[in-house]
Every structure is written in C-alpha cells, then in structure tokens.
Point group: C2
Chain length 208, copies 2
Amino acid sequence: MRRYLKDPAAIYAESFATVEREARLDRFPDGMRPLVTRVIHACGMVEVADRLAYSPDAGEAGRQALFAGAPVICDCEMVAAGIIRSRLPAGNEVLVTLNEPGVPELAQRLGTTRSAAAVELWEGRIAGAVVAIGNAPTALFHLLERLDAGWPKPALILAFPVGFVGAAESKAEIAADPRGVPFVALKGRRGGSAMAAAAVNALGGERA
Amino acid sequence: MRRYLKDPAAIYAESFATVEREARLDRFPDGMRPLVTRVIHACGMVEVADRLAYSPDAGEAGRQALFAGAPVICDCEMVAAGIIRSRLPAGNEVLVTLNEPGVPELAQRLGTTRSAAAVELWEGRIAGAVVAIGNAPTALFHLLERLDAGWPKPALILAFPVGFVGAAESKAEIAADPRGVPFVALKGRRGGSAMAAAAVNALGGERA
C-alpha cells in the first residue's frame, strides 16, 4: 500500500497550492479568485477556469449579500448538502424548494420540469438572494424568464447546471444577457452541484 | 430568450441518446453500460468513459447486492443526497458516518482526516455493502487499509474521490489491487459526488 497524505491542513494547503500553480489565477479580479479556486478544487479540473463567464463584480456582490444575511437558494438538495454551514457568515438560510408539496402538479400544469416549477416558489425570497444552480438547466432558464417578467433581482446567480440538454444553452443565455444580475457561469456541458456549492462556500469564507 | 426543451421525458431521452451516440458504450460489458451512461450524464463529460477502470463483474455485483437489500455506504452527505431513493430496489439504507459524534476526535487520535476516521464506523456494515466514495481520497485509502487488515469485503466499491491530493493515487491503488472486491474507479483527478451517486442510481434502476 502506497503512503499518502493524511493531515487535513496539509492536504488543503497542497490542493490549493496546486490550483494556484496551474490555474493562472492572476487573470481574475481579486474578488473572483477565492471562488475560482474553490470551484476548481471541487471538480479536480484546472481547465474550468478557461470556461468561466462572469460579471466583474460577481464575487463582491455575493459576498456582500451573504454578509448582509441573504438566503442561498439552490435548485437541488445536492447543492444544499455541499454548502458548509459554518462558512456562511450570517447563519444564512439555505433554501431548496424542489421537494415541496405541489411541485410535481405545478410542473404538469406549467408543462415543464419539476426543477423549473420549483423556481416559482422562489418568488417571495428572490430579491437580493444568492442563487446556486448546480443541476437543472430548466431551473436557470425558468429563472431568467421570471426576471424578464419583472421579478425582483437576486444579488448573484451562480450558474452551474450540467449535462447534454440545455446546460450549455442556458449558460450561454445568462452570459449573453445577465438581466443586470451579477453572475458566474461555467460555459458548456460541465457543471454540477459540487461546483455550485463550492462557489457559495468561497463567498462566505472571507470578508472582502 | 431562446426556446428550450421543457418536457422531462424528452430531456432524458435526448440526454441519453447523446451519451449513446458519443460515448461508444459497446466497448463496455452489458452490465456496465447503465452505470457508464449515468456517470457521463451526471458530469456532462463523455470522455470520462475513457478513464474508467473496473472489474468486469462490477455492475452485476452491485445490482445483486442492492436487490438483496445491501446498504449503500457513502463518504459524504452530497453522495447520499444524490441517491434517488425510489430507484433503490429494496428500500436500501443509505449510510453516512462523516457527521457522527466522535468522528473529529477519532480523526485526531488516528492522525488522519475526518473522512478517513468515519470509515472506521463502517466496520459492522461493510460486509456485502455497496460503497460509494465521491469526495475524499483518504476515505478510499483508509478503506483499502482496513480491507488489508482483514475487514470483510463489500460487494462493490464505487471509487470517485476527486481533487489534487490523493484522488488519482487512491484510485490507481484500487485499480492496481482491488483486494478481490468488484470496483469502478474514475482514474485521475476527476470524480465527485454526482458521479458516485449516479453510479448507485444506475445499479438500482434495472434488474439484471
């Protein structure tokens, strides 16, 4: 059996040093670097840094919202499970509506997915919230439609839906027209709950 | 706003058709194909199929274990959150010991990570279980050490730890010497909870 590193602090230090060495983080604004670092760390792929679209103020906007007590709204339970509660700076609520009663019926009535229907239940909480989408392209599309229809704006949209149908397209849509909302999006098919949660964890981790 | 696919059945069909078209699944044994398909679907990366190491009987071993009622043991809450309970064929228990009381102290005493210490608590449940590791290389290393020390064998190890320190190494270790346990491992740095959960979901989904 080969030897391996067991000390958690040493593992973290070596991980982040590797990201630092390989990812050319100096191309990102200061406020984005912790987020980029943690997203890369969560997926083991330095090259995702090349595919990030973002507004220059995204890191700062998310950080300010969290420190002001904004809720984190997630599209699925896996994102919520990845958010380290002790890193949230204001005991922020973490909200997932996907499994609320009535969502399957609402999805049928609206002719869409459960993930998109669950977005309807965000209406009363969306103003100033941090939105973390790590699974469903239709959730991101549906949120953009509601913003177009006049919903109040969230503080930040972390757009990491994943997969072969709609993921690349929904992220291209927000990157092309973020509707005046600060955002981070990983272009293309890649994404996932771990990256979305890591982005949230980065925001809460350090004061600006 | 561009048009997008909203019908869940159509989205699934198109997703899986894309995977089928791009991933050359015919190189895999029948019993592995649903697992490979779902792992690719979970991460949006067809090319992970090129990096899978596995025992030929892995799919079948996992399926049999789940249908016989084996528990699923996960290294973190995110993996557990990604397992679709309705797809588990025997109301199988999904077990995560990472946040059990005493684990931080055990980690300190053993001089290792919490993830590795949490593996100690698997001892009474490991025989015949399906193990899904989607986060911590040290959990996989620790499990292999315990198997070397004489622990009973699980039915299957799904090895998807992720990251820059130990992930590639721990998966190379199990691929080089699986200790007589059927396994699936994604070689290299990539991995994650979504892939580990998707692998479990594939096993429960269809009878052999």
